[in-house]
């Protein structure tokens, strides 16, 4: 294609984008002569340029548009939404023609006379009755013949001069000028001087430059490496200088690739405006931080997700005006986009003040789609429920409109953002609006990466995904354990699923020599954490990301390749792909699903450890509660005064058999699950550890059988869930009875108020183990009766939603009573959004904890109890 035409296409497309934005502004501020002047000029320039290039179709459409704009400018025509919509239609038509020209290099055949007649009819002062919504729909095609003829006929009837070229507009530049002459020159002038001092460069040129710079960086690194072996010589100083210059150059080119995020936002005002017209709402779009810069590659990737979210906000989020007024909100809804830099990342916040997500609808949909069961939902907070919209195939739209619900769901949005190492969070308050927060890296081209080795091959792992490094060996405290042949690592009391890089990439088999040291790279992808086992870890390096070779595109494990200082080419691992592959692998296995523990960020599933007992029946315990798995030498187990203990990390650890008829082995190994609590540990002796499975936490509370919480369907089988609390108390009461008999503990007293036996069972043993005397009540009324009758309590821990008397009423009643003014009270609820917490505190609770974060509940509770008992002047009356 002729480069002149190419230039024209680029230039005109840019002008059209500006026109979209400016027209939307203009519609709101029709009296702003400056905006109108700018719009008029842009349209005029397009028309003028078409004349030079011999593009009659474009010229005619642009001319009609310019004609109307001229009449706006001269005050001959009122600015109405219908009129603006027509101009926008003209812009769309121009865009259509341009895009066809991009394909063929020539103006496509077509007929614009209907559109032009419509525009001219309006220019001649005809009202445009209610056309806005209707005509927006047909801008993809041309009107059918009859309709077209009718329009033309009507137009001609009304405007006999139509056949001639549009009437010459009385030029009245003065009207548009005053703004320019009188005022506000400062800001625009500064803007345009920046424009004047900038040049347009082909993206390829910059990409090429980037490649050259990576080569330069490589050569520099090679030189530095040569120099390292030498004692000081005359090359040292110039080499250092070269090194600095190269870094500066690299920075410079990286900056060249940066573009303001406003570029990705340019289409949004138009989209929101059209949506507002179509849905008959009033919507303000506020854009803040549009000049925040980020890499153009990143910009391209987030463009569509952003558009999608803004669309969603406009279509579903913002309510119709009447509904808003009824809810006491301003009639016009507001969507706010805000971008800003923080700690090497770009944050983009998209918020609206609409109705918020429809939790009920999400709940129904989640059940209908089989994502969750009713009892599980009951234990989830609203914030947890709304996260379902990120699941594949989940569209929140109750009815699919032409606007959203196009099959691109929030799952695609999340996938796109996570693919570039970003993350997305969402919160929504019913009646108040929804907010998304996106975090993305500044650039993808040069990243800081950790260089690791597996089977003598080096790999780079993007630093952004790396949380920490752990050295492991058979001899150290931290070691890799195997559960059903899948490796896991117990790290600070959390079990981390592992992936062996050797295994994953089919490199040489792991050598399991004694005392061999390897490393675990703890990586995070989205909310999932997992470990990658490697042989060695080198340095971190700034690496230049080169696209992955076509031959490797089929494998999900690589993000690209790079060249290191010593000239070797290495592959960059894609933690995202590895996490997915690992999940896939375990899913194929069908039963062992350790890796899924990595998904613990998704709170609706829990990992369970399955173990065997003397009977054939398997028992399960939530994996989160297990601190460690040990295979103890039978010989190391001592039998003292009717109890079994073992020397464990410089302490004596009590062992409790799960089964009272447990046969302690005389030789060989004894499998033990170690539980830790407040610095103490106890071991639960079991027959064997069978597996770790991941399933929904749906426990049927049941039987009063000692030591069991109830049962749940795990991996398709009804399995008993073990109540660890029972064994903890067993170990420790016995322990203290025997060993610390002399110690007199003035036991502090806690009152636990909860209608759920499950939660009482979860909390009470923990408190008992921490030396509390615990009394429990099933609701507020019962709790008040106990408080009246019983000795004073040192702390009250209460649920919120309970029959008879809920937590809020209960707290208020307690606070009304002089005797209990300073009594520390902690609320524990499955609903814990900001609003709930506020209400709880207002009612008199000192702390408010969420039950949802079950794995960390004991820890959080302990911390909160320490805090409130210390902060409170409350002293037990006794």
């Amino acid at each position: 294609m002729d480069d002149l035409l190419q230039e024209f296409l680029t230039e005109t497309n840019e002008s059209l984008a500006t026109l979209d934005v400016e027209l939307v502004r203009f519609e709101r501020e029709p009296s702003d002569a400056k905006i109108l002047g700018n719009i008029f000029r842009l349209m005029h320039t397009i028309k003028g340029t078409c004349g030079f290039l011999g593009l009659p179709r474009l010229e005619a459409v642009a001319h009609a548009g310019e004609n109307v704009l001229g009449k706006f400018r001269d005050g001959e025509l009122d600015v109405t939404p219908g009129a603006v919509t027509l101009i926008l239609k003209a812009i769309d038509r121009i865009r259509q023609i341009l895009s066809a020209m991009e394909q063929t290099g020539a103006e496509p055949a077509g007929e614009d006379s209907a559109l032009i007649a419509e525009i001219n009819a309006m220019a001649s002062g005809q009202a445009v009755p209610e056309m806005a919504a209707a005509s927006l729909d047909d801008d993809g095609g041309f009107p059918v013949a009859a309709e077209l003829l009718a329009e033309v006929a009507q137009a001609i009837e009304q405007n006999p001069t139509l056949a001639a070229p549009a009437p010459v507009i009385e030029p009245d530049v003065k009207k548009a000028e005053p703004a320019k002459a009188n005022g506000e020159p400062a800001a625009p002038a500064a803007e345009s001087s920046a424009a004047a001092s900038s040049i347009r460069v082909n993206v390829d040129v910059i990409e090429n430059l980037m490649t050259l710079i990576s080569e330069l960086v490589l050569t520099r690194n090679q030189l530095l490496q040569l120099q390292r072996g030498q004692k000081g010589n005359e090359f040292k100083v110039p080499l250092q200088r070269l090194s600095h210059l190269t870094s500066d150059l690299q920075d410079g080119v990286t900056r060249m690739r940066m573009q303001p995020i406003g570029n990705a936002w340019a289409k949004l005002p138009r989209i929101v405006r059209d949506l507002a017209v179509e849905t008959r709402k009033r919507i303000e779009l506020v854009m803040l931080g549009a000049d925040t810069e980020l890499d153009r590659q990143v910009l391209e990737i987030i463009k569509d997700p952003l558009t999608h979210m803004v669309r969603n906000s406009a279509d579903h989020g913002i309510e119709p005006g009447a509904e808003r007024l009824a809810a006491g909100k301003p009639e016009a809804g507001t969507i706010t986009l805000k971008a800003y830099h923080e700690s090497g990342h770009i944050f983009i916040r998209i918020s609206d003040d609409g109705r918020g997500l429809n939790v009920e609808a999400i709940r129904r949909k989640a059940i209908a789609n089989g994502l969750v069961t009713e009892p599980e939902l009951a234990t989830m907070s609203e914030q947890q429920i709304i996260q379902f919209i990120f699941r594949a195939g989940f569209s929140t739209a109750e009815k699919v409109t032409s606007v959203s619900g196009r099959g691109v769901g929030m799952d695609v949005v999340r996938t796109n953002i996570e693919r570039i190492g970003g993350a997305i969070e969402m919160s929504s308050v019913q009646g108040q609006g929804t907010t998304f927060l996106i975090k993305i890296p500044l650039t993808l081209a040069i990243v800081s990466a950790l260089i690791v080795e597996a089977a003598s091959q080096r790999f780079a792992i993007p630093q952004i995904n790396v949380i920490e490094l752990v050295g492991v060996s058979d001899r150290s405290d931290v070691s890799i354990q195997r559960i059903n042949n899948a490796p896991v690592l117990r790290l600070r009391d959390r079990l981390l699923p592992l992936v062996s890089l050797r295994g994953l990439l089919n490199l040489a088999e792991d050598e399991t020599g004694a005392g061999r040291t390897s490393y675990v790279v703890v990586a995070q992808v989205g909310s999932a954490k997992f470990g990658i086992i490697v042989d060695r870890v080198f340095d971190t390096e700034e690496i230049v990301v080169k696209p992955v070779a076509p031959i490797l595109r089929g494998t999900p494990f690589y993000a690209g390749n790079t060249i290191l200082g010593d000239g070797s080419v290495i592959l960059i691992l894609d933690p995202n792909g590895i996490a997915q592959a690992a999940r896939q692998q375990t899913a194929d296995d069908g039963k062992s699903d350790v890796h899924a523990a990595a998904q613990d960020g998704i709170k609706d599933e829990t990992s369970f450890l399955l173990f065997g007992t003397r009977g054939s029946e398997l028992k399960a315990v939530p994996l989160e509660l297990v601190a460690r798995l040990e295979d103890l030498d039978a010989a190391s187990i001592e039998h003292v005064g009717g109890r079994h203990v073992v020397q464990y990390r410089d302490h004596l650890m009590p062992l409790v058999p799960f089964d009272e008829f447990h046969e302690w082995p005389a030789s060989g190994k004894q499998a033990v699950l170690v539980f830790s609590d407040h610095g103490r540990s106890m071991g639960l002796a079991v027959d064997k550890v069978v597996d770790i499975v991941r399933d929904r936490m749906a426990i049927e509370l049941s039987s009063e059988r000692t030591g069991l919480l109830g049962s749940a369907i795990i991996a398709g089988k009804a399995t008993d869930i073990v109540n660890i609390g029972h064994f903890l108390t067993l170990a420790f009461t016995n322990w203290f009875d025997g060993a610390v008999e002399a110690r007199v503990v003035a036991q502090r007293r806690a009152l636990v108020v909860d209608d759920s036996a499950f939660f009482r069972n979860l909390i009470v043993p923990q408190l008992r183990a921490a030396q509390w005397h615990v009394t429990s009540a099933a609701n507020g009324a019962e709790a008040l009766r106990i408080m009246e009758a019983d000795r004073p309590f040192d702390i009250v821990i209460s649920d919120i939603e309970m029959p008879e008397m809920g937590g809020l009423d209960f707290a208020a009643a307690v606070r009304r009573d002089q005797r209990w003014q300073g009594l520390p009270m902690i609320a524990l609820s499955s609903h814990a959004n900001a609003n709930d917490v506020q209400q709880g505190r207002a009612a008199g609770f000192d702390e408010y904890l969420s039950k949802a974060d079950q794995p960390r509940l004991p820890e959080n509770l302990a911390r909160a109890m320490d805090a409130v008992t210390q902060a409170s002047p409350w002293r037990n009356a006794s």
Partner: protein, 143 residues
């Protein structure tokens, strides 16, 4: 009007011509990059060296650096329009005095007298082609 798809028809084979005189300098002032490039081709073929400015402010700036022999000045531009630019350039009293040709469309045609009064030497209707431009420049004895 010739279509650009037959570029030769527009630009002819003038590029083959040899010129005996030193090239003159023309400043093209237009907010459309396409038109600037188009005009530059025509002018290059007529032995002009070409400079470009996308609005009046940039044009005035350019005149401070090099005094052009000819300024092709568009009317409708951001920042500073053609008429204001014309006045600003004339106020600089450049030596030797550059020829200024206003590029106009039907919209601003009635104002051309004002431009001529303010110091424009000639005007040319947009869109123009090689022959029209050549005639205008010949009238001004620039070629």
């Amino acid at each position: 009007m010739t279509s650009i798809y037959k570029a030769d028809a527009v630009f002819g084979d003038d590029s083959e011509e040899t010129f005996s005189v030193a090239p003159r300098f023309c400043l093209i002032v237009d907010d459309s990059a396409t038109i600037r490039r188009f005009s530059a081709r025509l002018l290059n073929a007529m032995n002009f060296v070409v400079g470009e400015a996308e609005h009046g402010v940039a044009a005035v700036e350019a005149c401070r650096l090099v005094v052009p022999d000819l300024i092709l000045l568009d009317w409708n531009m951001p920042e500073m329009d053609g008429l204001a630019c014309l006045k600003a350039v004339r106020a600089m009293d450049l030596q030797p005095r550059p020829m200024i040709v206003m590029c106009t469309t039907e919209n601003v045609l009635p104002k051309i007298t004002e431009a001529l009064a303010a110091g424009a030497d000639e005007y040319i209707m947009k869109p123009f082609d090689r022959d029209v431009l050549r005639d205008k420049l010949a009238q001004l004895e620039l070629i």
